[in-house]
Assembly symmetry: C2
DNA sequence: GGGAAACGGAGCGAACCTATCCACTTCTAG
DNA sequence: CTAGAAGTGGATAGGTTCGCTCCGTTTCCC
């Protein structure tokens, strides 16, 4: 695969510096970074960044494979929890926790446009596992039956919004919002009115997540 | 107050056109409109817009007094409903409904920065009434006791986020999200775990709403 | 009819981004 | 140690988007 000859030692060092700087930068300010930003952060000339990563998308993709891995690990970890509701909550909370500490990841999951293709790949890797978590919670009767997998991205959107706005005030306020929302998702003894509208279709949710934002 | 001499007829006509166009534009695309945008929409030269409204903020303020009135009317209306929980829900839903049809209003309420001062004034006019609605719901035992008035702006934030992202897919998806969230806010028979963290203070919420976003 | 008031929109400067280019530095094979 | 290949940095060209001004022209009103 990697047919090209190895980089010179200094070049390789710079490559790593760029990757590291870009990584930190994306976590701090989000997906919206220019070659110039990266160069400044890496203490390297713009030219160097362009030479090594002519396509910014490729660089970003590289950064995110690893991030998605972290989420996948999270699902696996959640699957180990016996109680299905606890497991589901653990996943949702963990996922949001990751996002809280990584604006780039948040942008990716919430889909602020642009990165569609990346988000789709992530969805394909994570989706099935989440579906399983949801099914378990349904089977155990702990998740209200009229809530579907498709409702979970909505949690992300919602709690992310709180995270975004409240980050600098109380970085943990989103936990409160999440707890309240999850209580709404939880099955309860007393009867409840049916939810308005139909459960969103997977296609719709996908569109929401990759919103072109016009 | 209005000591200046009246405008020439054509000038007055243009002033109205500008105001009308700006109003429609704000409803459609939000607070983030330039003098140029307004001029184009009003079919008027940029210069004219600048001459009449040198300070964009003043123009926008003018547009929003009327919008806030609509919300105040909504609270009053909700107060008439006998069942405290229904009343509260009616207000929250109505408020979000207004926002769904008016992006500018949404921006104002969600506080995307900038318009701080405007949002504060709005809060001062609406806040007390909402507090009353919440107190009624508490007294009747229909609102979970550990949810405070301060938690309601969070609903706005959360559901607005869904609205924003899903508008073009299913303009009513937010209703589903809202229903789920409100179910989380509602008091239930079975015991529940206490919410994590403290109820946010009013000061905190104010800060959240007027987030400088940096 | 004439002078004051208002108009329109070309266009200026600032900010910011992408991308290139080439004189200079650093590496490494021999 | 050295020559020349590989790599570097950052000034700069060129594009876009804004906010705003300025002034030749039009419109109003006495």
């Amino acid at each position: 695969m990697d047919g090209s000859k190895p980089l010179r030692r200094d070049a390789e060092r710079n490559r790593r510096r760029i990757l590291a700087a870009a990584n930190a930068l994306v976590a701090k300010v989000g997906l919206d970074i220019s070659h110039n930003d990266i160069a400044r952060a890496a203490e390297v000339g713009v030219g160097t960044v362009y030479r090594r990563f002519p396509d910014r998308q490729e660089l970003i993709d590289e950064l995110f494979d690893e991030r998605v891995d972290r989420i996948v690990a999270l699902v696996d970890q959640a699957m180990e929890i016996d109680d299905p509701w606890q497991a589901l909550c653990a996943f949702v909370a963990g996922n949001l926790e990751l996002q809280a500490s990584d604006k780039g990841l948040k942008d990716l999951m919430v889909g602020d446009g642009r990165v569609t293709e990346l988000a789709q790949r992530a969805g394909r890797r994570i989706g099935p596992a989440v579906r399983q978590l949801v099914e378990r919670a349904h089977a155990s009767g702990q998740l209200r039956p009229d809530v579907g997998v498709e409702d979970f991205p909505l949690i992300q959107e919602m709690v992310s919004a709180v995270m975004e706005h409240a980050r600098h005030i109380d970085p943990d306020l989103w936990r409160r919002a999440l707890a309240l929302v999850l209580d709404g998702y939880r099955a309860h003894a007393q009867p409840r009115e049916p939810l308005p509208g139909a459960t969103p279709t997977p296609e719709q949710i996908e569109q929401v997540l990759s919103a072109k934002r016009r």
